[in-house]
Symmetry: C2
Subunit: 149 residues, 2 copies
């Protein structure tokens, strides 16, 4: 075992920790968001991402990258949300291949109803992860990434 092999193993372990924490949080979010707002985590992510945009427009492909989803999955995801009246498609004039999406009032409303659930579940999930020795260090590291004070 040389230094090189150690680096490989450290990366692998970091990835396992990341995946484990991600899985834990996502599972809990999935359940609570589904129960409280009939939204999957990805659906919430889309609404949240749209609400966070300046000008409130995003193209399909941006959405696909933001959610780490395939193009086809994104199409259908937007279909579902559009069918529920939470967002609308807007053909964009300058590039007629492109399609913008925009939250409707109903979408904004649902997002704001869901946000407390999301935030509370996230807090609870992180607290649970704190109690798991392998995950605790990563939980501690997270808030330090963007702490600005």
């Amino acid at each position: 075992m040389g230094i090189k092999d150690d680096a490989v193993e450290v990366r692998a372990q970091g990835w396992r920790t990341l995946a484990a924490l991600h899985g834990l949080i996502e599972s809990e979010l999935e359940r609570s968001l589904q129960a409280e707002a009939q939204l999957s985590v990805v659906e919430y992510t889309v609404l949240d991402a749209l609400s966070r945009q300046d000008g409130w427009h995003m193209r399909m492909q941006q959405l696909a990258r933001a959610t780490a989803l395939s193009a086809s999955a994104t199409t259908r995801l937007v279909n579902r949300l559009e069918d529920r009246g939470l967002l609308t498609r807007i053909l964009c004039a300058d590039d007629r291949r492109g399609i913008y999406t925009e939250l409707t009032a109903s979408g904004i409303k649902l997002l704001e109803e869901a946000r407390p659930t999301h935030d509370a579940t996230l807090e609870r999930a992180l607290a649970e992860a704190q109690d798991i020795p392998e995950l605790a260090p990563l939980v501690d590291a997270l808030p330090k990434l963007h702490a600005h004070a």
Copy 2:
């Protein structure tokens, strides 16, 4: 905006960063493992977890927790791997509800063939993430979690 609201927002941002990095890495692993070893990330995770058990077997439910998968998904995942001859089910004597899984020689072999691909892809994905400003801090933090030297 008080201190409390800040904490909520910091957690949310940490979660978005975590999810984004996870999605990026998983996508790349998915592609490369599928191409090189016909394994999905979850399948690789199972084989890896079993190999790491060092003589000990794993029960279905442990596997479900290790992969953040539902019980039914775990059943079918094990079915797939068993059908390919990569692992075997072992009824355990003391608790006849329980089922242990164990890697076959063929499973060990495939895992060892896949590991270099996995490790290389992971390194590449992390390097790419390094170039994305929002992700870089988390990438830097990861190896510090388990560094032991």
